[in-house]
Amino acid sequence: MPVTAQEEEIAAPGPAGGAGREPLLRVEGISVNFGAVQALSDVSLDIHRGEIVAIIGPNGAGKTTLLNVISGFYHPQRGRIVFDGKDRTQLKPFEVAELGIARTFQNVALFKGMTVLDNIMTGRLLKMRGHFLLDALYWGPARRQELEHRAAVERIIDFLEIQAIRKTPAGRLPYGLQKRVELARALAAEPQLLLLDEPMAGMNVEEKEDMCRFVLDVHDEFGTTIALIEHDMSVVMDISDRVVALDYGRKIAEGIPDAVRTDRAVIDAYLGVAHD
């Protein structure tokens, strides 16, 4: 499996190399509660440049909440988020996107009525400059700009091997491909940090292998820092440099995949604990 081979190459500079420098994203003591439900309590987490970090945990552990906090959909009641050296705890989702954080959703959030091409083009909206009148005339710089972005999108389409479905409305695609298109849209924004919420959920083995390959290729090719939530442990162990485990809104373990896999607290969280 090519996945394992690549993992060994990138595992080295991961946690050890990045530890000394300023992390790309620092989450400090985040707490989020919805009414009486404590979704996250005092969670801290660093993500370094060039890492692939997996966030694991049983259902309801607060993984998606953490991702939503990072991408600005929720605002934490306590704690701080520092991205690229700047505090950005209270930013709104579209402002987070402007900073260079792109994400995908657990239940694919594509623009279903639009073609795959248009979906991916929307990912570049932030890269486009608006010339109100020139845009309307589709003339001069506006036209050049559109063509430039189109070229960038075509590169991503080639990269993720979705040439054949370019003109298909996204809503008509099978689930696995929709996930891939969503990844393409996130990539189109050329993010510094890519957040993937269960990119392989509901996929068959073959689709999972493809997705693994794409995630690793993205990492190698563009040097994108990636944080992903995933349930499939073999996937997590294969592709991540570091694993963070959550349970009941708390961080219970953090470290290299092998260490987390054998961690007592993690095993207890997944299998349940005998109260003796």
Partner: protein, 329 residues
């Protein structure tokens, strides 16, 4: 044999009215058209002019539907409200350009208020709830407009006389011509702008999925304000044109009903659809009225649009250019 000739001749006798009818429907009108081309041109011009005016109103619906997935029940009243504001200001002695600017400002301010008071609290709600909110908006604007400017019929004089001139024997109404040209220019600009630009794509994105749109960096609120402002501008232009034609009064808000079939025909999500739909209905109902009207005793103009829309709903519910509704199960 006395029986022999009667048998075959009975068939043509009972068949005659049928053939007569078919001739009346399929042949005579076209012969009439070909027979008097000048008159046909006049009818077609009237149809295109009316059609563009329908398109103008329909466009307001399309813009808002595209951006927020909401059918804006209040679009018709927005037309009335903008026209009322304009006339009201002009009656107070405000010069026309300033009155126009002030009315436009009012519509933009209205867009801000709607975003803050109606849309923002209802973000991510079911479309039906947003639809109900626009019904509320409809009643509010109707009452507010009448409270502010009075309920009596007002005359809107924009300085273009409601008279005709003749080009090569074809009568052309100045007011209709101006309205048609204005509508055509506005519709053209908006169509290109929303089809080809960054904002157009952002609009479609917002309409499709709020969350996903936010995640790729589209500020929802800004988009909504832009869209409702543009819808306000479109309403103002429609209000001026229709108001100049038939006076500014409550019934102005009912032209919205006439643009519903246009939307069904063209597709709720398509700017070119709104234009094509308007033209088809405008021209269709005028031709129907003039050439086929006598067959059924007239008044085709009143129901043509709705029957056509019904037929479309059966055959092609997404309209001519609308996005097909896709649901994977």
């Amino acid at each position: 044999m006395p029986c022999a000739p009667t048998a075959p001749s009975s068939t043509p006798i009972s068949g005659w009215p049928m053939i007569e009818l078919l001739r009346g429907v399929l042949v005579a009108p076209f012969a009439d058209m070909a027979g008097n081309l000048t008159f046909l041109t006049e009818v077609l011009f009237g149809g295109v002019a009316a059609g563009l005016m329908y398109s103008l109103v329909a466009l307001g619906f399309v813009l808002i539907f595209k951006a927020s997935g909401v059918f804006n029940f209040a679009q018709g009243v927005m037309v009335l409200f903008s026209a009322l504001t304009l006339v009201g200001l002009m009656e107070k002695g405000v010069p026309v350009p300033i009155a126009l600017a002030l009315t436009l400002l009012t519509m933009v301010a209205l867009a801000f208020v709607i975003e803050r008071v109606v849309l923002r609290p209802l973000v991510n709600q079911e479309p039906i709830i947003l639809f109900m909110a626009t019904i509320g908006l409809n009643f509010f604007l109707e009452g507010f407009g009448e409270m502010a400017w009075g309920a009596n019929v007002k005359k809107l004089d924009i300085g273009i006389p409601d008279t005709s001139f003749i080009v090569r024997g074809v009568q052309v109404n100045r007011l209709e011509l101006t309205a048609a040209l204005t509508a055509a220019v506005l519709v053209g600009i908006l169509a290109v702008f929303f089809q080809r630009t960054k904002i157009g794509r952002a609009l479609r994105a917002v309409a499709d999925d709020h969350e996903a749109a936010l995640s790729i960096g589209i500020p929802l609120k800004t988009i909504w304000v832009i869209v409702w402002s543009v819808a306000g501008l479109v309403a103002l232009v429609a209000g001026i044109m229709w108001g100049a034609k038939s006076g500014v009064q409550f019934s102005l808000s009912l032209i919205a009903l006439k643009s519903l079939p246009v939307l069904i025909l063209g597709g709720f999500t398509s700017v070119p659809g709104a234009i094509a739909g308007g033209l088809i209905i405008g021209v269709g109902e005028k031709l129907g009225e003039v050439y086929w009207g006598p067959l059924v005793g007239g008044a085709i103009e009143n129901w043509f649009a709705y029957v056509l829309a019904l037929a479309f709903l059966l055959v092609r519910p997404q309209g001519l250019f609308g996005e097909k509704i896709i649901e994977r199960v």
